[in-house]
Every structure is written in C-alpha cells, then in structure tokens.
C-alpha cells in the first residue's frame, strides 16, 4: 500500500542579495497519508502548499526534516504530478505527450497504455492533435491522463482547475472523483478553494499563511459529492470559520 510520511519538514529559501531576509516557506510539517485516500492541503496563496508538492515530487528538496514516499512495490515510488498549467510539449501530439513519461515496456505497449488513459478521460479521439488545438479543459484532462498513465503510487495535484472556467472546473471535479474511486490511488491535492477541498477530499489539512498545518480534518461524506450538496456547504462554512479563528491569535499547532 502506498504511504507518504512527512516528519518535521521545513523549507527555507535563502536570501539572494545583501539586506534580504530568508523566506520560511514551510515550518514543521508533519503528517502521514496511506492507502486509498484523498488528502487536500488547503490554505491561502503563498503558504507553501506548492513548495511542499514540489518536495514530494523531488523537484525541490527539504531544508530540514524527512519526507518519504513508499510505493506499493519495492523500489522507487511512482509519483504522478498534475500541475496548475497542463505543461504539455506543444510540438508533440497528445499521444506522444502521454508516451513521453512512460518508460516501461515496448513502444507498442507504451502507445497502447497512452491510448487507454486518454480514453479514460474521453480524449481518445484527440490523440493525434497538438495541445494547441485543444481547449484549456481538454489540455488539463490530458495532464490528468498523463499522471494516471504511470499508474502512480501517489498522485500530486497542484490547483489543477484554478486556471479553468467555473463550468469546466466543475465537470473535471466530478470526473476526478470518478477516477479516484476507480483507480484506488493515493492523492495529495493542493488548493486555496475550500469548497473544492470539501468536495473532493477524504481528509483536509489546513495550512496557515505561516506555512504550518494547524488542523487535520476528516470529511466523512459519501462519494460522489456535488457542489450543491447541503453537507458540503456546511463543511465549507466550518472550515472558513476555522481559518478566520486562526488569523486572530497566531498559535502554531
């Protein structure tokens, strides 16, 4: 079973010139996530959420503390990453973008797997198009299909719907719930949208603007959820209240 263990993780960006102070992006982040779970880090912009995902993916390294991802099998854990923007190679077709991240199997097997996951997000018919010929929502779906195609132990998602219009984002949230239920993967999601966090997550980690996790909540609502569900709205209001409380006295938990 896939497992993410973060213990006392800190991230400091050193000053780049004289007279500048170091930036403490994250302070003492500690939590574990395991198995078929959908964990969301929610907090204001600039609180270090994306930095944390970058460290989990290996793009950046922590300044202190330990951060480990254990896969379902021996060896290095497979980590999929869906970014805020789709990050597709514009000169390659949609299918080639899928194949680009696949390193196992023959050329035919990788092509077949790429097609399978494009079908999963209903974009099989667009396989030979260039990313520039797709809408923003379609490009983001390719990004999701690409992340799923490596059959990840852990799927990282960094505000993947924040650049999309409200209607497309709503549809993709529904689709993401379906994919998560089907694939049984572990997802670590980042957002500043509390409604999105409640809608998608089984667990919500609330981060303050000081880069600290101050609440660890379980969202015990049945899936699939809809934005118009009354219970979703109630949880959203409760979390917003907790954020308001947090802003008054500055106490690290």
């Amino acid at each position: 079973m896939a497992r993410l263990v973060a213990h006392d993780v800190k991230k400091v960006f050193p000053p780049t010139r004289q007279g500048q102070d170091p930036v403490f992006a994250l302070r003492n982040v500690t939590f574990e996530a395991e198995g078929h779970t959908f964990v969301t880090l929610v907090g204001p912009s600039g609180c270090g959420k994306s930095t944390f995902l970058n460290m989990v993916s290996g793009i950046e390294s922590p300044s202190a503390g330990t951060l480990e991802v254990f896969g379902r099998t021996e060896g290095e854990a497979r980590i999929g990453y869906v970014f805020q923007d789709p990050r597709l190679l514009p000169w390659k077709t949609v299918l080639d973008n899928m194949i680009y991240v696949l390193d196992e199997g023959s050329s035919e097997e990788r092509t077949e797997r790429g097609r399978k996951y494009l079908d999963l997000v209903n974009l099989g018919s667009r396989a030979q198009m260039y990313p520039g010929q797709l809408s923003g929502g379609m490009q983001q779906r390719v990004g999701i299909a690409r992340a799923l195609s490596i059959e990840p132990d852990l799927l990282l998602m960094d505000e993947p719907f924040s650049h999309l219009d409200a209607i497309t984002a709503r549809d993709l949230r529904v689709e993401l719930q379906r994919l998560w239920l089907d694939t049984k993967s572990t997802i670590l999601f980042v957002t500043h949208d509390v409604l999105e966090a409640v809608l998608l997550s089984s667990r919500v980690l609330m981060m303050s603007s000081q880069g600290v996790i101050f609440r660890d909540l379980t969202i015990d609502l049945p899936f699939p959820r809809r934005q118009t569900d009354r219970e979703v709205a109630i949880h959203q209001a409760e979390i917003l209240e907790l954020f308001e409380e947090m802003e008054r006295p500055m106490v690290d938990v």
Partner: protein
C-alpha cells in the same frame, strides 16, 4: 433568483450554418493575385523591369537580354556547370561543418557555463570581423586551394548559428523541464523530445542566415584568390572589363541561393513551425 426568458434554441445543425463555411474553399481565378506566390513573382518581375530600364538607359549597365546571351556563350564554352559545381562543393563542405560546429558549440555554451564564457568573446569577434578580412588572409595562407573558401565559410557563418542555437537552448521552457524531472524522464529522452525540438526553430532560422553568409564567403574567397568557381569567373570578367560577364555570374549566384532558400530552407523552417498551426501570430 429569477430567470430572464432568452431566445433559447436547440443545438445548431448544419442547416443553420452558411454553406460557404462547410465546403472546402473555392476561389475565383483572380484570387491567385493575392497569394504569397504572386507577391514573389511580382517582386521578380519588378526587378527585371527595373533592370531592363536601367540597362537601356545607362551605358555601363548591361540589360537582361545581353546578360542572358553572355551566359549562353559561357555555357557553350563549358564554363557554367563546372564552376557552379566546384563552388557548391565548397559551400556544402563548409556549411556541413558550420551546422555541426554551430549546433554543438551553441548547445555546449547553454549547458556548461565555463564553455559559455570561453566562447563568448570569440563568437563576438567572429560575428563582427568582416568575411572580407578572412578572405584576404586565407588567400595569403593557402592560395588557390579548397581550404581557403571552406575556412572562411566556417569562420564567418558559424558564429551566427552558435548564437541562435544558444538562444534556443536557453529558451527551453523551465516548467517543462521541471515536469520532466517530476516524472523521472531520462535525460537522454528529455534532450531528444524536449530540448532539441524547442531549439529547432532557432537552429533552422540560424542556419538559414548561416547559409547566406557562408555562400557569400565562398564567393568572396573565390573572387580574391582562386582559379575555379563562380566567384572566380565573376572576377575573371571583371578583369576583362565585361559588364555582361559580371552581371551574368552575379545572376548565377542569386539564382543558386534563391533556389536553395526556397526549395530547402523555407520548407525546413515551415516544418519545424508546423505545430504552431492555428496559433495566433503577430505576423500576417
């Protein structure tokens, strides 16, 4: 919340759309006049007309008819194709070296900062030093051999390609590199799928300029000190005070470079830009 009654209809069918948008484009015969080909042919026609006017007005300028007659004579003397062949041979060898060296140095400069600082001043000197200087030097060093034209072609055209390749390599999108690292894409595949394609437009544009510079350099060296080639023949007729001879060989130089640019370089550049189809662009 209240709803305003708007004119809501069902999904549009083909019947709602003008037939002109559904059929493949069909154009009247005069549509051709607005095409890119017409613009090129018009430019050539204007050039010919101006040339003809100048040739008939000024005594020292040969007209197109006299120039063509001269070329026919030169062909009968067996001078046209052998001299074109030797110049093309030199240009092909030189430009192949330019392509290999320019791309390799440009990539190395982008990848390793020590290489960048080693070559920065040399490239600057290479770009600013006129091919004319190199041409005189190689004539003194190697006289009538093939080494001179090829060397000047390399030294005067490579810096241009290095600069373009370097710019292309440094313009590789950082976000795509981070994505590749996150997915543990092997460095070799990153280089082949991401770095090289992102540079290709720059390399193609740089090589296009390098071809123009390199061809000019070969002709220049042939002019100053060689016993074969297009440049040599032009100089030969210059010494003989034949305006038709100079103009005729000048015409050969132009036709060769225009043919290569149209038939090869233009297609190469368009190929590497094909993925941009449909993108909004500033140029019209």
């Amino acid at each position: 919340m209240s709803e305003v009654q708007a004119s809501v209809q069902g999904s549009p069918s083909a019947a709602d759309i003008p037939a002109s948008l559904l059929a493949p484009p069909s154009h009247p015969w005069w549509w051709w006049l607005g095409s890119d080909r017409a613009a090129r042919y018009t430019a050539r026609l204007v050039f010919l007309l101006v040339w003809q006017w100048a040739g008939t007005t000024f005594q020292d300028i040969p007209a197109p008819t006299g120039t063509i007659e001269f070329l026919v004579e030169e062909f009968r003397r067996g001078e046209v194709f052998p001299n074109i062949a030797i110049s093309l041979f030199r240009a092909v060898i030189g430009l192949t070296l330019v392509l290999v060296l320019g791309v390799a140095i440009g990539i190395a400069m982008a990848r390793w900062w020590r290489v960048r600082y080693f070559f920065t001043d040399l490239i600057l000197v290479g770009i600013t030093l006129p091919a004319f200087i190199w041409a005189l030097l190689v004539v003194m060093w190697w006289a009538f051999s093939n080494i001179g034209p090829i060397t000047v072609c390399v030294v005067s055209a490579t810096p241009q390609l290095v600069v373009n390749t370097f710019q292309g390599a440094t313009a590789t999108p950082g976000k795509l590199l981070a994505m590749s690292d996150a997915y543990r894409v092997a460095e070799r595949r990153q280089f082949r799928w991401l770095v090289i394609p992102s540079m290709m437009e720059y390399i193609a544009a740089g090589f296009r300029s390098a071809v123009l510079a390199g061809w000019g350099a070969v002709l220049l060296v042939e002019w100053f000190g060689n016993d074969k080639g297009v440049g040599f023949r032009a100089h030969y007729w210059y010494d003989a005070h034949s305006f038709e001879g100079m103009m005729g060989w000048g015409l050969v130089m132009m036709v060769i470079i225009l043919t290569f640019d149209r038939m090869v370089m233009d297609r190469v550049v368009r190929h590497f830009r094909s993925w941009r189809t449909g993108e909004r662009q500033w140029s019209r």
